[in-house]
């Protein structure tokens, strides 16, 4: 029974869509099927997954967090500036992650304590965090901090911070055999979030808040702290994405990841999470993110210019949601008709129910 349920689930459709996609792209361009290339190409889009995975939790509560793309840049620049200021690079990494969590919790605090729509709050912080990220180098100079070099922190305003130590940049470029480190981190993070979402009380609370926050409140669910934690996790994911991007591109910039908003939300929604809250899975987001990422890689490998990629991703998002809605409407119609038929046949005294 459980297997039947799994086969009929949205995640299963995503699995075979993913297989189909890789096969089709491989048929068009056989070099795409090289397993090592395939695995290492994931590093180009792991930042999307890292931000999308915890965002799933936020959307399940009926909220949304669009400020993640700014938190990526903020984390990256914090890491770079801390390193320039002489902090050990791994301590700087820790600092960047901490900033991400705090930024996310700031969102959560506002969402939990007011009735302002989460979209408005995270829109405000989207601008605020991005502004802070670009302004931070100048601010540190103004506050009189000392940096290596003559021009102070402001030198890094537009250039980005390069020359990060090897031990740090190896983080995103190394791997276990054929599996690159970023992918391992993504898988571990998915596993962790999956367990949190589906196996803990906290996870059940998230669904309950998404279905009916009022009912959750009256059921003695700590709505506020659960909400704050969900947004904090989202901030952590975005910061982790920023740190890995910094390592991958070997330079810290305040505008890293600013183009990722569309694919991040696409991954969550394509993964089967209801944008209104109350349902969704981490596995779905993981699979959908892979689907989008490989599609992008495949299109680029086919020689399609990167301009076309957003068209395909955007079109795919609309198409999938429209098809899902039509299917569920059709299902509803079938169920209704069957119910009507069975009632009609009972009245007629017959017993031939299909």
């Amino acid at each position: 029974m459980k297997i039947v349920k799994w086969i009929r689930s949205w995640e299963f459709s995503l699995v075979w869509l993913l297989v189909l996609e890789v096969l089709v792209l491989g048929a068009i361009n056989p070099s795409f099927l090289n397993l090592e290339n395939l695995l290492f190409s994931t590093s180009d889009f792991t930042h999307i997954l890292l931000a999308a995975l915890p965002l799933t939790l936020v959307i399940i509560t009926g909220g949304i967090d669009i400020s993640g793309v700014s938190i990526m840049g903020l984390a990256s620049i914090v890491l770079g500036l801390a390193w320039v200021a002489g902090v050990n690079v791994f301590l700087a990494m820790f600092l960047a992650l901490l900033i991400g969590v705090l930024a996310g919790m700031f969102n959560g605090l506002l969402v939990a304590n007011t009735d302002i729509p989460p979209l408005v709050i995270t829109l405000g912080t989207l601008f605020m965090f991005a502004g802070i990220a670009t302004g931070l180098p100048g601010l540190l100079d103004a506050l009189g901090f000392e940096a290596y070099g003559v021009a102070g922190f402001s030198a890094y305003l537009y250039e980005g911070i390069t020359g990060l130590p090897r031990s740090f940049t190896n983080l995103a470029h190394g791997g276990l055999g054929w599996i690159p480190n970023p992918l391992i981190i993504v898988l571990a993070f998915s596993l962790l979030l999956s367990v949190v979402l589906h196996r803990t009380r906290f996870g059940r609370y998230l669904y309950l808040i998404g279905v009916n926050a009022e009912a959750a409140h009256y059921s003695a669910v700590p709505v506020k702290s659960v909400t704050i934690a969900a947004y904090g996790l989202s901030g952590f994911g975005a910061a982790l994405a920023g740190v890995l991007l910094t390592s991958y591109f070997t330079s810290a910039r305040s505008d890293l990841g600013s183009e990722a908003l569309l694919p991040i939300i696409t991954a969550v929604v394509l993964g089967g999470t209801d944008i209104m809250g109350g349902s969704g899975t981490v596995v779905g987001t993981l699979l959908a993110g892979m689907l989008i990422g490989f599609l992008r890689q495949g299109l680029l490998a086919m020689g399609v210019t990167s301009d076309v990629v957003p068209v395909v991703v955007g079109g795919l998002l609309i198409l999938v949601v429209a098809i899902k809605l039509l299917l569920s409407a059709f299902n509803q119609y079938r169920i209704n008709r069957r119910a009507l038929q069975s009632r009609g046949s009972e009245k007629g005294g017959g017993s031939s129910v299909g």
Partner: protein, 339 residues
Amino acid sequence: MNRILRSREALVLILLFVLVALIGAINPNFLRARTLLNVVNSSLILVLIAIGEMFVVVTGGIDVSVGAITGLSAVILGTSLNAGVPLPLAILLTLLTGLVAGSVNSVGITFFRVPPIIMTLGTLGVYRGLMLIITGGSWIETIPPNIKAMASWSLLGVRVFAWVVLLIAILATLLVRRLRQARYLYAVGDNKDGAYLLGIPVKATLFAAYALAGLFAGAAAVIFVAQIGFVPMQTGNGQELKAIAAVVLGGVNLTGGVGSPISAVIGALFLTAIDSMLVFLKVPGFWNNAFGGAILLIAVYVDYRIRRTLDARQRQIRAQVRASKMPEIRPQPVTEEAR
């Protein structure tokens, strides 16, 4: 007094005047007519996009594709002008592009029932991609001088574009107040099912809202091309978020049913004015976003506090009235110990 306090438009307008006066006190140059008119001129694009966005937000929806529609329309205007299309026809074509792009959103949202944020996020990618495909990814750097000249036409010392936008804003405000079909927008935003039961054409109303948002984004593209004089690929990038910020700042409620074109105008003026104010305070330009975001958050938060205080006071008054009128059915006061 309560009504003024409750209206976000008034709150933001007062805040804007206070800020302008404050900056003027620090740097009197800011209060010169030319500076203030410059602020108005540079806000025109955002004002138009924000008015369009308002129609959508009032219905309880959201449109994050308007920036991309502005970009796409600007590209259409640039390429058609360079292909030798006469100016009036090219402008018509641009407005039509906006209208069609908006209508595509409408079709998905009304007929296929795709949630607005998903639909417009998808078309955001599609339109932005189309823009790059049409131009091959390179900027349109040469624009015929005839459209650029339009940006410098003046009437009574104020740019014609500013007059036109003012006229559009007044017209939109009047229509929203007087036109039955425009009232439908509010009815749908306030209570979709209720509106349906009243016989209001919900789908047609939603269709019109997103189409209008597209049309206004197209109109913004005309001003953009005229004022800037070339079409970079970033045209309209992030404008959708600024437009949403502007309407929210101006007092349009994202849950629908509340707001007016005036809100959009005030919000857009405010956001643009902040940029100029920071220049006059000698704050580097890269802080603009941080201040814009912070002010948006502060405005919605202050609004939330005021609303809550007023509601609490009203509840108290109501309770008092009830207590004095009907003492016999007054419930036993619940004390802390009784709980």
